[in-house]
Amino acid sequence: MLKQVEGSFAVAEAIALCRPEVICAYPITAQTHIVERLSALVRAGELGNCQYINVESEFAALSVAIGASAAGARAYTATSSQGLLFMTEAVYNAAGLGLPIVMTIGNRAIGAPINIWNDHSDSMALRDAGWIQFHAETNQEAVDLHIQAFRLAERLSVPVMVCEDGFILTHAYERVDIPSREQVDAYLPPFEPVQVLDPSDPITMGAMVGPEAFAEVRYLAHHKHLQALDVIPEHAAEFARVFGRDSGGLIQPYRCEGAEMVIVALGSVLGTIKDVVDEMRDDGDTVGAVKIVSFRPFPMQALRAVLENAKRVVVVEKCLADGLGGIVVGSVRMALRGLSMPIHTIIAGLGGRAITKASLRRAFDAAAADKLDDPHFLDLDREVVNRELARTRERRRSGPIAENILREIGLVGGKPV
């Protein structure tokens, strides 16, 4: 049913439809509205026997989910940024134990400096923890991906994180088609665990594994991700059959037919990028875009197939590897190994800075003319940067960088040092 609702609300409704049995929640911006809505639904008795546990930290949140999933319950939690880092040990543990937990990440920057706004540094930090990682472009896709996530997680016995941009998606009101219970029940069967703590059939889970077997165990986890490359499109196709719309999958190309330049990105920025692509196409440029939905497993072959005939690739990223540049671009290069087209990196939107059509257009035009620096930091204020560099060169005790810059741009009282 079509509704005009906040993104978080829609995700909560989607989770509720998936018949979760244990939800554990620790609040952190930007995920709070999701867990708040779920607590209301549980209290109203709309989720049957679902247990909602308010925990004392994110580490506890995922640990509760681990225990619940190990005991055979469909478990869910959500977090962002600092919270995801605080549960890092448990994130790896859940993947290593093969527990089909689904977790929402309301993508948010990681401090210091503390920042509550959107970028992808959080999910990128955990990209190799063994979880499958989806990125939603719209709130509709966020709803759909969560439903697909439970099915995928339980099919392969691997945890799945569904990433949606904090504030930009979580706090935006837009039109969403909330599926019916019948549709979700038709798509998502009850949870049948591969391994479960059951007094009538005891097993030991979480044993120590030494050099004699660790590599094989890890290889099998890698193998699951390779399997997922086939299962994800399968499940997306089944989703389309049941729900009547295309959603998810590994990648989604946009106007890539005959495109000389293709933009690659994850998440909500694709919306703005598509508008720019349309404008550039109207101006005669053959431009296209590719959305990476599944960042893990990384869709190496699917991406190559779409990009291999492009003359130029531009990767727009909301994350930064200090000293290196982009993170996504590294994998894109791997996908395109052996090919020689120029591949550009644009670092944009860090800490929630707005990514505008105008700035993207300027950058894409510069890339097309081979005039884009690499990596290119979109809308970076070079003057502010240079003034701070001068300050640090001048004095040893130049003060905290963040505060100096905030004073500089007038957000903090007092003169710059």
């Binding site: 049995e21 546990i53 580490f59 509760v64 681990i66 040990e89 448990a90 703590l197 007094p199 004699e212």
Partner: protein, 328 residues
């Protein structure tokens, strides 16, 4: 007038058991016990934790009609009981991380509740490091929510599995790898200490108890009492570690008993934050008798006796005796 007679026993076949009525015998004395921590594990000779865990889990299994799920923190117990590809556990058992056993246990409990399986109980286990240090936040959270989990801490007073490093439960003056017996003060500092049983009581949870492998009857009885109620429950078990303490494996029970008899490890039980039972000291011993057989306290005796440190430790014991009324 009934007289409480305690028979000190170390296992199934000692005389004490055979003189008791059947229903008063320990679970360990019965042939049909679940033997949930079965033989073949890799614990050291004389390991107090293995003895304690065996008693605890079998008692809990008896109380739960063999429908029990165990959640274990990282530590000696977890490591010596699951040397891949073997496992000593004959009940459903999960090990996740070092600091999250209480939270994982909460998750298991929640899953059982969601599925309407109120016949299955949950037991969480960890050492002093995993429980009182790194797992403390999760433990407190579990207490605060009154989650239906029995948490048992096996306290050997240091991070033994990683090589005997100091924990918040390491007693004053004890030598560990990170509190060496050099300088002044030598060994662990005389700090505030951290008493998880008292902290558990401060949470007001339904049942809290301390126990020792010196008195397995008492330990089992406390587990049975705990399992007879629901909500968050905590039992803190003193378990000597011969290797870490520098003691003889054969002295494990004797040392555990001395810890109780000196007053350094009071035995008591509490409900909803109020002490309801204490075990009186039968034969009070001076702390030096307990400390001297342990090489971790050797520097208090050789080359010279450190009377000041010994007096300070004696004061701790005496304070406990007074606080809990252990001398009747």
């Amino acid at each position: 007038m009934t007289q409480r007679i305690k028979f000190y026993q170390t296992g199934t076949f000692t005389i004490g058991n055979r003189l008791l009525d059947a229903e008063k015998r320990t679970v360990q004395a019965t042939l049909d016990r679940s033997n949930s921590l079965t033989s073949g594990h890799r614990a050291c000779q004389g390991c107090g934790e293995a003895l304690g865990a065996r008693s605890v889990v079998d008692a809990a299994m008896r109380a739960a009609n063999n429908r029990l799920i165990a959640v274990n923190a990282t530590g000696c117990l977890e490591v010596f009981s699951t040397p891949y590809p073997e496992s000593s556990w004959q009940l459903p058992w999960v090990h996740s991380l070092f600091g999250n056993a209480p939270a994982v246990a909460t998750g298991v409990m929640a899953a059982l509740r969601a599925k309407g399986r109120d016949d299955v109980r949950v037991l969480a286990q960890g050492g002093d490091g995993g429980t009182v240090d790194i797992g403390f936040g999760c433990l407190s959270g579990m207490f605060e929510r009154n989650d239906d989990v029995l948490y048992v801490c096996y306290d050997n007073e240091a991070y033994m599995n990683t090589g005997v490093q100091r924990s918040s439960r390491t007693p004053p003056a004890a030598r560990t790898a990170t509190t060496p017996a050099v300088g002044d003060p030598a060994g662990n500092v005389f700090g505030q200490g951290k008493n998880p049983a008292l902290i558990a009581m401060a949470h007001g949870i339904p049942y809290v108890a301390t126990a020792s492998v010196a008195d397995l009857h008492d330990l089992e009885a406390k587990v049975m009492t705990a399992m007879a109620v629901h909500g968050a429950r905590y039992i803190h078990v003193h378990v000597p570690c011969p290797l870490g303490w520098g003691a003889q494996p054969r002295d494990t029970i004797r040392l555990a008993r001395l810890a109780v008899e000196t007053g350094l490890f009071p035995l008591f039980a509490a409900e909803h934050g109020e002490v309801i039972d204490t075990t009186p000291i039968r034969d009070k011993r001076p702390v030096a008798e307990y400390l001297e057989p342990q090489r971790r306290f050797a520097h208090l005796f050789r080359p010279e006796r450190n009377d000041e440190a010994l007096a300070s430790i004696q004061r701790i014991a005496d304070r406990n005796i007074e606080k809990f009324g252990l001398l009747g």
